[in-house]
Symmetry: C2
Subunit: 219 residues, 2 copies
């Protein structure tokens, strides 16, 4: 039982520190000392720092991708081959995030920040791991988005999908800092749910915006 305790103590503190400072900026020594475990424990239980990072992600992404997959099953059954509105598709994704059981009390904001880091700070091994492990689920979701916006040219949707991703990941990954500001300036204590609920109309409107005029931009 002692080993499980050590393992999860490491995972918890690693998660917090990674989210705070990033991966390479967080040393194993600061993790282990803060977790009150021996330095060698990380390499003993996880093998290497890289594997530790992956384990931190897996603890969130395993349940998340499973939930998302089931939710998509449910959606397709409910609409039975018919068209699914875009905002419903998007809400499915965010609902999967919100209903996901959180392994730590930090909850979502740490996970969101990690997602952001994974995308920008992604060293090669991380990108590969995420792609191999969770690629299919996200590919399935991307396809649902495609069907829900079939009037959009493929190239345009491609870019708008990434604008959407950016809006979500970026704001979520700085969520804590932004919440503090919002609280101080507007007296609004926004939870993750509120922010997500604000995000949906924004990206939905963005996805169905009029097509851009690309004339004169051929450089």
């Amino acid at each position: 039982m002692a080993q499980l305790d050590t393992v999860s103590r490491i995972l918890d503190t690693a998660e917090t520190l990674f989210a705070e400072k990033g991966f390479s900026e967080t040393s194993l020594r600061t993790i282990t000392s803060k977790a009150k475990v021996n330095l060698a424990a990380v390499n003993y239980h996880f093998g290497s720092k890289k594997s530790l990072i992956q384990a931190v992600f897996a603890r969130y992404l395993d349940p998340f991708s499973e939930i998302l997959d089931k939710e998509m099953d449910r959606l397709e059954a409910e609409y039975a081959g018919g068209d699914i509105p875009l905002d419903v598709v998007l809400s499915t994704f965010t609902n999967a995030i919100l209903t996901m059981p959180s392994p730590t009390k930090n909850g979502l904001s740490a996970f969101m920040r990690l997602l952001g880091l994974a995308y920008t700070q992604a060293q090669g091994h991380m990108r590969r791991y995420l792609q191999e492990q969770y690629g299919p689920v996200f590919f399935r979701f991307a396809n649902m988005v495609k069907n829900a916006s079939s009037d959009l040219p493929d190239v345009e949707r491609f870019w708008r999908l990434h604008f959407m991703l950016g809006a979500a990941i970026f704001s979520m990954s700085s969520l804590e800092a932004l919440q503090d500001i919002a609280d101080k300036d507007f007296g609004e204590q926004a939870g993750v749910r509120d922010v997500v609920q604000r995000l949906i109309p924004f990206v939905t409107a963005g996805m169905s915006a009029p097509l851009p005029d690309l004339s004169g931009s051929n450089e």
Copy 2:
């Protein structure tokens, strides 16, 4: 003359490497060896690695913030106290980016990627530096956005502004990778200008989206 050559050779290669791998992942030794200058040159000319990072940013942000400031002068003169449409305000910002003289041939994509890193990977010193150095200009711009969307509640605008920022920074910071995919999948060789031109309608629509229904989210 030799010293200027050394300085800019360091800046050029540092910029490229930072954009590729991030700040802490790039060592002074890889920078100096790739730039074919002595290791000590960085500390001699810049003082420290932190200052090098700031110098890389300054080379872009100094001209940019100056241009943006002047463009805002021009706008306010043109509209002479009247309301400035939101998409015009936003275009001003992107135009400032596009017309900015690029110190290196990497051009914008490196700069955009750096901006993204600065925001997500921002160690304390970077955030402070950016705020102190370029805070006023961006504050002025934020105010223009506020006036151009005065019908929006303050809190709502606050969050949408960050959604917007996220969409821009995120997609721009992965621009090169995304361009490759877009080229391969759709045969479209999109330049920075095209992407920006696609971005404008997206964020404009998002900014003027219907207000979210926040009921039932009080957790």
